[in-house]
Structures are given as structure tokens and as C-alpha cells.
């Protein structure tokens, strides 16, 4: 019994690091416009994640938000999906 009590105090946690991973759930791994990884970020921004989100069109093709906005804004009045030409 004494032994058991000694064992209990052997495990003292001084500090711990949590490690979390995340990934975008897109069909492709890279953005069809900039060809950079979805889990990285577009060439316009420095930090991946919420600062450089993905966006899905009605056709379910995903792009970095900043990449597709640049394309859409250059195609006034009507922009088409770069992958399938859907409006």
C-alpha cells in the first residue's frame, strides 16, 4: 500500500502542449487559380486559415476567396467558374 502511494506522486505534470491540426475539406488540394495549397494561403495574404478562407461556388468548385474575387471582379458583368464555366 505504501508503494502504491509513492507511485502516485511520481506522475506530476509540469507543463503540456496541445497540438491541433486542421485542413480544408475541399475536393482538390490546390487552388485552381494560384496553384497554391488550400491549407496554405493565397499569394495575397500571409496567414492561412480564417484570414484566407476558401469559397465554394454553386458548382461546388473551391478557390481561395481572394483569388476568385480577383477573377470575378475582372469579369464584369458576368463571371464564370474558372473550372467549369458555370455562371
Amino acid at each position: 500500500m505504501r508503494c502504491f502511494q509513492e507511485l502516485k506522486i511520481l506522475f506530476v505534470i509540469y507543463r503540456w502542449h496541445a497540438v491541433v491540426s486542421w485542413t480544408w475539406d475541399a475536393h482538390d488540394e490546390t487552388c485552381g487559380i494560384c496553384r497554391m495549397a488550400f491549407d496554405g494561403c493565397c499569394p495575397y495574404y500571409k496567414l492561412p486559415g480564417d484570414d484566407c478562407p476558401l469559397i465554394w461556388g454553386a458548382c461546388n468548385h473551391a478557390f481561395h476567396l481572394h483569388c476568385i474575387m480577383k477573377w470575378v471582379n475582372s469579369q464584369i458583368p458576368q463571371a464564370h467558374c474558372p473550372m467549369c464555366r458555370r455562371e
Binding site: G32, I33, C34, M36, Y44, W71, S74, P82, M83, R85
Partner: protein
């Protein structure tokens, strides 16, 4: 060839440079079959050798494509022309300009040099006659001042070839 392209005058943006470097790396690992990129240190102008596909009327023939990238590539299409002598084809003018919708109105930023090459080879391969476009002389005369094909208002009417 005249240094005609408006697009090649401005330096590439950082974004365009990044993407082109990726495309070049991809090309070196897995080049589209029938094409050879002529190595230079100029990322903004690629010269690509095209080999006519076997079993087509361009079999065993070699041509050269010149691809000039604009500053804001891939939001804008590159300028693609054949260097002299351009293949005899109903959609290719004697000055090397190519009537192909994806190079102009139907460009999409998801396209790459590789996909353009494949479209051009497919256009060549489906041709059954070695002839120039009907309006070749008139068009080429209008381009004498070194006009880029991207400034032409193309009318795409023939999807057979």
C-alpha cells in the same frame, strides 16, 4: 518576330511569378507529350517546340510557339503565337496568330501553359486541310504595325477544326 506584345512590356507581378515558377516545375516533371520547352532564364516569355502528332497531317513537322505572359497572369490570358513559319491551318494566320477562343474570350485562370499546348495540338490534329484562313491576307495586312492578337476582335464560328 517583332517585339509586338503589349503584354510583355510590364514585369510580372509577384503572384504571376509564383504561379509561373510552379507551372515550370510541373512542366519539368511532367511535360505535355509532343512539346519541348526551350530553356531560357526568361520566365515571362516561353518558347515551346510543338511536334505534329502521329497520324495527323502535321506528323513529323516541328513548329515553335511563343508564349508571353502579362503582368497580371493568370487573371489575363498569355499571348500565344506561332513563330515563323507557322503551320498551315484554317485557324492559323501566316503571321503566327491563332484563332482559338481560349486564348481570348474564353480564357480562364484555371488554364495553364500545358493545357493551352494540348488545346493547340488538338486543334492541329483535327485539321484535314493544310490551308490558311480565308481572310489571311487582309488580317495580316491589318496587323503590320505589330498588333498583338489579343487586340483583335475574334469571331469564333467554326468548332470543327
Amino acid at each position: 518576330m517583332t517585339d509586338s506584345s503589349v503584354s510583355s512590356r510590364k514585369v510580372l507581378s509577384k503572384i504571376a511569378t509564383n504561379r509561373l515558377q510552379k507551372e515550370l516545375t510541373e512542366w519539368q516533371i511532367n511535360p505535355p507529350s509532343g512539346f519541348t520547352h526551350k530553356v531560357t532564364d526568361n520566365l515571362q516569355r516561353w518558347v515551346i517546340e510543338v511536334n505534329g502528332a502521329q497520324g495527323t497531317i502535321y506528323d513529323n513537322e516541328k513548329y515553335q510557339l511563343q508564349v508571353d505572359f502579362p503582368e497580371n497572369y493568370p487573371m489575363e490570358a498569355p499571348q500565344v503565337i506561332f513563330l515563323h513559319p507557322a503551320p498551315l491551318h484554317p485557324h492559323i494566320y501566316s503571321n503566327g496568330h491563332i484563332c482559338l477562343d481560349i486564348l481570348y474570350d474564353s480564357w480562364s485562370p484555371a488554364m495553364t501553359v500545358g493545357s493551352i499546348c494540348i488545346s493547340i495540338l488538338s486543334m492541329l490534329s483535327s485539321s484535314t486541310a493544310k490551308e490558311r484562313p480565308e481572310d489571311n491576307d487582309r488580317y495580316v495586312k491589318n496587323c503590320r504595325n505589330g498588333r498583338s492578337p489579343k487586340e483583335t476582335r475574334w469571331w469564333f464560328h467554326d468548332d470543327k477544326v
